[in-house]
């Protein structure tokens, strides 16, 4: 199986704080890879590293045989036309209609006529079921619709890699179902490589071909959904089942409670 992206021995820190310590992972071409982990572990950060918005302290990220961190800015911009990212908030441009949002990448990066752009945009909107909302402003959309509109924008240029940042977070069950279906369908129809970052275990297990679980700066488990479900690591099981306490402690590291309560100020 060929890899579209491979992350090799990556270390990254924000200031003093280490986010990733020597992790490696691969995104197989044409497959959907899920990356799971609790909030604040650095999932968005990982996607930004792959997109070249952040540079690793050490290690390498290879996209189609080319090292992202070593690219010049102009080359990086070329490469980014082949990847797209669905941001957690949708990140629609608030001063444009849904139509113009989806048309934006086409207008920026192609020389297509307005007529052709209109056709393409309407097709993309049809794919996410929002053709009727083309003239609405992002502020008029519900959360689920905004994310679908952003998805239409993300696939406007037919990218090879699409990165979903917590696509299900804060969605009602119906929107969630719609998004799961969309991601699955797009992946099959367009032969995309997808990476879905999330902490919603059940949804992602149903669409992922391969799963990585992050905790504490490292990858603590990886495999197909079946392998993950059967994983022997208690940390993986705690995450999958959502237990409050376990190897990942409920309490943030602190001094002894008794001691702190009795302490004189």
């Amino acid at each position: 199986m060929e890899d579209l992206v491979s992350v090799n021995n990556l270390t990254f820190s924000r200031g003093q704080r280490v986010i990733y310590q020597d992790i490696s992972l691969r995104l197989a071409k044409g497959k959907t890879t899920a990356i799971m982990g609790p909030s604040g572990i650095g999932k968005t950060t990982l996607l930004k590293l792959i997109g070249g918005q952040l540079r690793p302290d050490s290690g390498d990220i290879v996209f189609k045989g080319e090292s992202i961190p070593k690219m010049r800015r102009s080359r990086l911009f070329e490469v980014r036309r082949h990847m797209s990212m669905l941001f957690q908030s949708g990140a629609l441009f608030t001063d444009m209609t849904v139509f113009d949002n989806v048309a934006f990448p086409l207008r920026e990066h192609t020389r297509l006529s307005e007529e052709l752009i209109r056709l393409l945009v309407l097709m993309k909107l049809q794919a996410v079921g929002l053709r009727g909302a083309a003239d609405m402003l992002p502020s008029e959309l519900s959360g689920g619709m905004a994310r679908r509109a952003a998805l239409a924008r993300a696939i406007a240029l037919d990218p090879e890699l699409i990165m979903y940042d917590e696509p299900f977070a804060g969605q009602d069950p119906i929107s969630m179902g719609v998004l799961v279906k969309l991601i699955k369908e797009l992946n099959n129809a367009l032969n995309l490589t997808s990476v879905v970052v999330t902490h919603d275990v059940t949804e992602v297990m149903s669409i992922a071909d391969y799963v990585y679980i992050l905790a504490d700066k490292k990858i603590i488990g990886e495999g197909t959904p079946e392998q993950i479900r059967a994983h022997e690591s208690p940390m993986v099981q705690q995450f999958l089942l959502g237990r409050a306490d376990g190897p990942v402690p409920f309490h943030f590291p602190a001094q002894n409670l008794e001691q702190q309560l009795l302490e004189r100020r």
Partner: protein
């Protein structure tokens, strides 16, 4: 020891900030000019210029009127009320036009620019541009920077003109200074290059400073509600102080000798 450490730390922070501000400026102003950016710049001129027009016209009129009133009460004691024209015109053209416009612009348009860009950052719009292989400096910052630099001198000219008319309304129409002498004495002592021209140069410099601070503060803000509100306040405070400080230097250079 702690004191030195703090001094060192803040020096480093300030230099890093200046570096980032300079990087933003270079990235935005010296980016390859693009035809696509012209409509964006026009839209921003609408936002920062046209939408600031009302406050500029109203303030200009009132300031001109107040100056005529105050000036008249002083000048009339010396029988020099025909000097009202030059007094109003020169103070507006050389100082009040550029400076008050810059201060109002900082409060009206600068703070809005900072908040807008800060919110674009917080809602990941800037990141998403970046991921779509569109440089936010070119696409978001440059049109706003240019629009500010273009719009503010125009506002300052309008401010001065309206102020002089306001001065006439009070000085001539109300207080009875002779209309002929209001204008002719003004004409005799106002020079186009020196007074009007230097005033425009001043306001160009202020426009640059205020807009630069506004877009930088937005772009560099911490993308939370607190961070954006802090950045907005800082835009108004820093740009007002910078305008007043730079105004002193420019005035000394332009009008200081003789």
């Amino acid at each position: 020891m702690e004191w030195f450490a703090r001094l060192g730390r803040s020096t480093l922070e300030i230099s890093a900030g200046l570096g980032r501000a300079a990087y933003l400026l270079v990235g935005a102003l010296f980016a390859k000019p693009q035809l696509k950016n012209i409509p964006l710049t026009i839209k921003q001129i609408y936002v920062v210029g046209v939408q600031s027009l009302l406050i500029i016209v109203v303030s200009g009129a009132f300031i001109g009127m107040v100056m005529a009133l105050q000036g008249y009460t002083v000048l009339v004691d010396y029988g020099a009320e025909e000097s009202l024209g030059p007094m109003v015109a020169l103070s507006l053209l050389r100082e009040l036009g550029p400076v008050v416009t810059a201060l109002l612009f900082a409060g009206r348009a600068g703070s809005a620019l900072t908040a807008e860009i800060g919110l674009m950052k917080a809602t990941e719009q800037l990141s998403s541009l970046e991921m779509m292989a569109v440089d936010p400096l070119r696409r978001v910052i440059a049109p706003r920077l240019w629009a500010g630099i273009i719009a503010m001198p125009m506002l300052a000219v309008i401010f001065s003109a309206v102020g002089i008319l306001g001065g006439q309304a009070v000085g001539v129409d109300w207080l009875g200074v002779d209309a002929g002498s209001y204008w002719s004495v003004m004409q005799a002592s106002v020079e186009f290059e020196k007074d009007v021209g230097n005033g425009i140069i001043k306001s160009l410099v202020f426009a640059f400073i205020v807009t630069w601070i506004a877009v930088y503060k937005g772009y560099d803000s911490i993308p939370t509600s607190e961070g954006i509100s802090k950045a907005t306040t800082e835009t108004v405070v820093y740009s007002s102080l910078a305008v007043l400080g730079v105004d002193f230097v420019l005035t000394a250079l332009m009008f200081g000798t003789h």
